[in-house]
């Protein structure tokens, strides 16, 4: 508990020195990536010996931390770090296949709020670099071939628009539910098909566009005026 208090104190101190607000988010995230869908759909089509089909990579969780710098009245800017995790599991006799997809985003964002016109609403426009890693797990163990854990990396860029609503501030703290829409026009992930369908260039392109929808809750910690 003491460690948490110390961390909290440090964060407050940090904000009071150079920043204005710290935001910590947790959310549900829905993902749509057409090329990865194709690879999983082909996997399911081509393996009738798997009775339980591999679910598409679509439901995940996201957590992020944002730091807003001191700035103008309505427009502010900051940096954001986000992590997302998506999971797909299919349990079959002698063959439990899991796909674990991790995303890390590091970005810059513009925050807008206008208490007079927008009441308690605010928006963030986030531009971030995105990296991903896809891992496979078979029968409870990391999937290996050639004695190396199989993994597929991806890299791209994401733009995310977030709309939130502040609840009542109390002691410069508050929660806000939010909804966000993200679009990754190009994520270069040449080996994802290799992990999903054990092929390359058969089912899909070596890159994909990604759309995401996020619903969650943000905890705000603002500097004492």
């Amino acid at each position: 508990m003491n460690k948490i208090r110390i961390l909290y104190f440090l964060l407050l101190n940090c904000i009071s020195v150079s920043g204005q607000e710290l935001k910590i988010e947790a959310s549900y995230e829905y993902l749509y990536a057409d090329q990865w869908d194709k690879a999983i759909q082909t996997y399911n089509f081509s393996r009738p010996f798997e009775k339980e089909k591999q679910p598409l990579l679509s439901n995940g969780i996201n957590t992020s931390i944002s730091y807003i710098f001191k700035n103008e009245k309505h427009f502010k800017h900051g940096i954001n770090f986000a992590y997302s995790f998506f999971h797909s599991a299919a349990g079959n006799e002698n063959f439990n296949n899991n796909l674990n997809l991790h995303f890390v985003n590091l970005g810059y964002f513009i925050h807008y709020e206008n208490a007079e016109k927008w009441k308690g609403f605010y928006s963030d426009l986030i531009f971030s670099g995105t990296s991903s890693v896809l891992l496979r797990n078979v029968n409870g163990a990391p999937y290996r071939y050639d004695n190396i854990i199989a993994k597929a990396f991806g890299v791209g860029g994401t733009v995310r628009l977030k709309l939130g609503y502040y609840s009542t501030w109390k002691n410069n703290r508050c929660f806000s539910p939010f909804i966000a829409f993200a679009y990754t026009p190009y994520l270069y992930a040449p080996n994802n098909e290799r992990i999903i369908n054990q092929t390359k260039g058969l089912t899909s392109k070596n890159w994909t566009g990604i759309g995401m929808v996020q619903i969650g809750l943000t905890f705000h910690l603002r500097k004492q005026e």
Binding site: T168, L202, I215, L217
Partner: protein
């Protein structure tokens, strides 16, 4: 708003907000390709090798009416099994699974099939002696800016002289080709998409058993053996196939999985004739002679792998990875060497030539401990005519053109039709099997 009320509302909104859209959005996306496509027509598959069997397996899983016409008296194509030669079963055809990151790798895991990585040690027959290392690096056939010339020519350019001839022949032989015919550029480019891994696996039982038990066993009631398709008339809505005894078979779609030499040599007559660019593409895909000779001895005088012989560039200890250990040495003969041995005319002459070479390497021990041999010559099999496909000089996009379907009626599968780097392999053949069923169903959907 009280904090308690806010939290309550926020929780309800969150749950609703998550469940409703995610359920709706997820239901819009299908888990399986072509999930809703129904097809009442009949599909005929020509050839009961790995590609044909897997295409059949997929069609069966989709509830589509199909039949397999197989020219020979057994199914499996270039897979085969011999139980009686040694105290372990022997693969007469494909025996190594090249990389486990493939659909067959999954099938092996699921079926608990026992395999081991082939980590056998190689000795080279070099300058008339057996050595464990070579003076020069022979790993020269991968990389960028490679020329579209033969392996043998490129090796000479890189300073690997005549003393390396049969070492290079072995490298090309792995690709099923003579070093003088295999393209450095073509082979390298075609393997760019290779994704199944580099380890080679051997089966404790046989590769044939895996395909037989896990795939063929599910569709064997639909295989018509001894049916040599000689004509395919796809000029009308209904496709009519004629076999060598003038029996007719009717179908709405045909998947052709025969080896590339059968297509190249015109053993099947098409009406209307196949497009010229397709025939040209067939001619650009190579397939050389290939045979496997199993030599049984009463002592194990030989190394696990012997590379560089002038009669056979690759010998391998067949007992590696097996539960029993009879002394069986495999002579894996490809390309010009297989042509030479085939020209000897009979199995005794082939065995004698190989024993002579081994005697030279091992001071007469081969003949002294020889028990028996089995020759499996895939070249003289009239329905196979060779080993497996390779990248000839100037191959370009030949495989992509060769595998294109015709008039949404005639489809092409088989290892030679694999365009994602897995040609020459059983898992590559399997991939074309399901790929063509996808193409077929996509055409129906159109």
């Amino acid at each position: 708003m009280e904090r308690r009320d806010f939290l309550k509302q926020a929780t309800l909104l969150s749950i609703g907000g998550i469940l409703i859209p995610s359920t709706f959005l997820t239901s819009c996306r299908k888990e399986t390709l072509l999930e809703d496509v129904k097809y009442e027509g009949k599909v005929l598959i020509i050839g009961a090798g790995a590609a044909g069997l897997y295409a059949a397996y997929i069609l069966k899983s989709k509830g589509i009416n199909f039949q397999i016409l197989e020219a020979s008296s057994n199914y499996g194509g270039r897979l085969g099994k011999l139980d009686t030669f040694a105290n372990f079963p022997i693969d007469l055809g494909a025996q190594w699974l090249h990389g486990k990151n493939s659909i067959l790798g999954d099938l092996i895991t699921k079926s608990n099939t026992k395999t081991t990585v082939d980590e056998s040690v190689t000795k080279y027959w070099f300058n008339n002696q057996l050595v464990t290392t070579l003076p020069k690096n022979i790993d020269i056939f991968n990389g960028e800016n490679l020329p579209d010339i033969s392996y043998s020519e490129y090796a000479l350019q890189k300073g690997l002289g005549k003393e390396y001839k049969y070492i290079i022949e072995n490298i090309a032989g792995d690709q099923g080709a003579s070093a003088s015919r295999l393209s450095v550029f073509g082979n390298n480019q075609e393997e760019e998409n290779w994704s199944s891994g580099d380890d080679d696996f051997k089966f404790q039982e046989t590769f044939y058993d895996l395909i037989d038990q896990e795939i063929a066993g599910l569709v064997k009631d639909k295989i018509v053996l001894n049916t040599i398709v000689s004509k395919i008339d796809y000029s009308q809505a209904e496709i009519i196939l004629t076999d060598s005894t003038n029996n007719y078979f009717k179908a709405d779609k045909v998947i052709i999985t025969v080896p590339i030499p059968i297509l190249k040599s015109g053993d099947i007559e098409f009406t209307p004739p196949l497009p010229k660019e397709k025939i040209t593409a067939f001619s650009k895909i190579g397939m050389d002679a290939g045979m496997k000779v199993f030599l049984k001895f009463n002592t194990k005088f030989y190394a696990q792998n012997i590379v560089g012989g002038a009669i056979c560039a690759a010998y391998a200890d067949e007992s590696i990875g097996k539960a029993q250990n009879d002394n069986v040495l495999l002579a894996f003969v490809m390309g010009e060497q297989a042509e030479y041995l085939t020209a000897l005319g009979n199995n005794d002459a082939i065995t004698k030539a190989l024993l002579q070479e081994l005697d030279t390497m091992y001071n007469g021990q081969a003949s002294a401990s020889y028990i028996s041999s089995h020759v499996q010559n895939w070249t003289t099999n009239p329905f196979i005519k060779g080993a497996y496909s390779y990248s000839k000089i100037g191959i370009g996009d030949a495989r992509k053109i060769a595998c294109q379907s015709i008039n949404q009626k005639v489809y092409f599968a088989g290892e030679a039709m694999n365009t994602n780097g897995h040609h020459q392999t059983v898992h590559g053949a399997v991939e074309t099997g399901y790929r063509e069923v996808i193409n077929l169903l996509n055409d129906i959907q159109k």
